[in-house]
């Protein structure tokens, strides 16, 4: 997905296109209004949401501060029941591990339930290149796969598609009757996918939480596809970033409702499974082998930075995307990153390099809506600011910007310089230097004839 050329220029071009695309704006406003309404209703289940967020923040802080201890505890417990843990430092190592398991089991078909980590490591393409058919079974992901597109949103992958567009996609790709309703489309997908669940040798899922104390993983989903993916095939591989750890199973009573409400406004997600290993001798179903791949892929860079570290608290609920006016206007693909929206703009520079991704941290009006909503209290807009400071400190900003702020500083340190030139002169300066970047859709701001300082002096003299 990394496009050729300057990522910032591509971002600017795409954001221009999308923010002027009124059909896109309407679909995004509609979809995100629905999620906003659902959240407003759903959060009523917390008698004290602010306290719940404080509590969640404290638990995640503990989890991340002792990440090594908890991960090792998880591994010890999980492997004691026959599960296998694979530590992958890079995306390539994770992909190779999955490929090796698939080839050992001569897998022809792999079913997947939703996993953003699999997007991060570009797993589908790698398996496809190796001759394995990969089928997404989350309906939104399935739609995106049919359309040959990356997810548009970390929780709602096809949020940008209208029901009419999905119906047309099914006509084009599956040869269905035209103009099917959403419930009919779901039945079509269900029929296709049921067959794939039976055929698949390997099921791949993401992980919502790793549980250190019992050595298990939690999968939370609304469609039942996760249960089929983990229950039908002989082999289950779960992919997760190392930050998904919770110290204890008892903390799920907080985290499951918190995640559900912030992701979709639900009180609790429909299906919640705790998986603790492969099928035991006395159990009727479950996979014969179960693997959990713990992925670093740059996360320890974040862990090493005491300020950025807080971004590892993320539980991937997507609430910061839902409230972000920038995300709403430019959509998920414009970011050209696995994780879009505010959290994506915070972590991507640390995961994939600041130089090529610093523009993401600048592409925010710093309105703070993301910080206001985050269930684990990640100070998202402050971390965007932090990334900007890192970018300046590394010398990645343009010479022009540096000169601009140097000039600004000179003027701000000397009121006489700030007072120099009448309003008319300043208006002229703005016209010459700012009008181009200010764009065609706005008139330039007008300076008054006299600034406040000058008005104040005149006022005092009158008295």
């Amino acid at each position: 997905m990394i496009a050729v050329g300057n990522r910032e220029q591509i971002f600017l071009k795409q954001s221009l296109e999308k923010s002027k695309d009124l059909a896109h704006r309407q679909k995004m406003n509609h979809a995100l209004k629905q999620s906003d309404d659902a959240f407003e209703k759903g959060k009523g289940q917390f008698s004290d949401l602010e306290l719940a967020r404080d509590w969640a923040n404290a638990i995640k802080r503990d989890a991340i501060m002792q990440l090594d201890t908890y991960l090792c505890e998880f591994e010890r417990k999980f492997t004691s029941r026959g599960g296998k843990v694979i530590w992958a430092q890079t995306a390539d190592q994770a992909v190779e591990a999955v490929k090796a398991i698939c080839s050992r089991h001569r897998a022809k078909t792999v079913v997947k339930s939703k996993s953003m980590v699999s997007e991060e490591i570009r797993l589908n393409q790698a398996l496809k290149d190796g001759g394995v058919e990969v089928v997404e079974t989350d309906l939104g992901e399935y739609i995106q796969q049919l359309a040959d597109e990356a997810p548009y949103h970390i929780v709602a992958p096809s949020l940008h598609k209208s029901k009419e567009e999905v119906a047309q996609l099914f006509v084009d790709k599956l040869g269905t009757e035209p103009e099917l309703r959403p419930d009919q489309l779901t039945q079509v997908a269900r029929k296709v996918l049921r067959k794939k669940f039976r055929e698949a040798e390997v099921g791949i899922t993401g992980v919502n939480f790793l549980l250190a104390d019992i050595g298990g993983m939690v999968l939370t989903e609304n469609e039942g596809n996760g249960r089929l993916t983990t229950g039908f095939p002989k082999v289950h591989i779960a992919l997760t970033g190392i930050e998904k750890i919770l110290p204890s199973v008892h903390q799920l009573s907080l985290f499951l409702p918190l995640l559900a409400t912030h992701a979709s406004g639900q009180h609790i997600t429909v299906y919640n499974a705790i998986l603790t290993g492969p099928r035991k001798a006395d159990e009727a179903d479950g996979p014969e082998e179960m693997y959990i791949i713990l992925l670093d892929n740059g996360r320890t860079n974040i862990l090493a930075d005491p300020t950025a570290r807080e971004s590892l608290y993320c539980i991937r609920c997507g609430a910061c995307l839902n409230v972000c006016p920038v995300y709403k206007n430019i959509g998920g693909h414009t970011y050209d990153t696995t994780y879009s929206g505010p959290i994506g703009s915070v972590i991507t520079p640390h995961l994939n390099g600041l130089k090529d991704n610093k523009h993401l941290s600048y592409a925010s009006s710093l309105c703070g809506s993301c910080t206001e909503v985050c269930p684990v209290r990640i100070p998202l807009h402050n971390l965007l600011l932090y990334n900007r400071q890192q970018s300046v400190a590394a010398g990645y900003n343009s010479g022009m910007e540096k000169v601009m702020f140097l000039t600004w500083k000179k003027m701000m340190l000397n009121r006489k310089l700030m007072n120099a030139g009448s309003g008319d002169v300043k208006n002229w300066v703005f016209k010459v230097f700012v009008s181009k970047i200010w764009g065609k859709d706005r008139e330039l701001p007008m300076f008054p004839k006299k600034n406040f300082s000058q008005q104040w002096k005149a006022r005092r003299q009158q008295k």
Binding site: L12, S15, L16, S19, K20, R25, P306, T307, R309, E310, P325, V326, N329, I330, Y362, A363, S364, S365, L366, C367, G368, S369, T371, E372, L385, N387, R388, Q389, Q390, S391, V392, A393, N397, E401, K402, F405, L406, W408, K409, M411, M412, L413, R415, M418, V434, I437, W438, G439, K440, D441, R442, E443, L444, P445, S453, W456, K457, R459
Partner: protein, 222 residues
Amino acid sequence: MVSILEGLGCEVCYNPEQTCCGQPAFNAGFRNDCRAVAEKFIGDFNAADPIVAPSGSCTGFVRNYYGQLFQEEGPGDGEILPIQKQVYEFSEFLVDVLGVTNVGAALHAKATYHDACGALRECGIKDAPRKLLQKVLGLELVEAADCEVCCGFGGTFAVKFEPISTSMAEQKVVNAMKLGAEYIISTDSSCLMQLDAYIRKHKCNIKVMHIADVLASRKGRH
């Protein structure tokens, strides 16, 4: 703002040498440039009096960021400086400190209030401006569903990402007009400057007005 404060019995002092709190540079990542200007700011207000600003954004910056600005880089808010507790946004000062909601203003118009991000999310100001505006004679206040959504200004964001910024302004203006509002009122000139820039270019039938101007209004129609 000065006339209202004086009308309420405050003695208003102003240091004509003062300039800026430093926020523009900080928000762009230029921490050191910001720090130099912020040092001057602290020196410009060396008395223990409350500092009142016609801006939630400047207030929020001084109140929430000065501590970390003057500590070595790292997480946390740093040690709290006296000036952080001295700054007030204008409407907040009137309502929460002076305990005043009726300043005797009159403006015969229909208006909507825009919650500036700095006022709302940095300072937690939601009710104070509304309490003041409700007491303005003749003013009909209508709430916009997107009253808490950003106007799209965001400092250098407005020029670095002009299309996104403009689209955000457009939606705020269009939604306010749908309500039949004649004015968009806010605590922050930067939001109003951004919205006004869109309004003037597109000759929209709506105006912007700073809350201080509304509260100073005595002659009915502005």
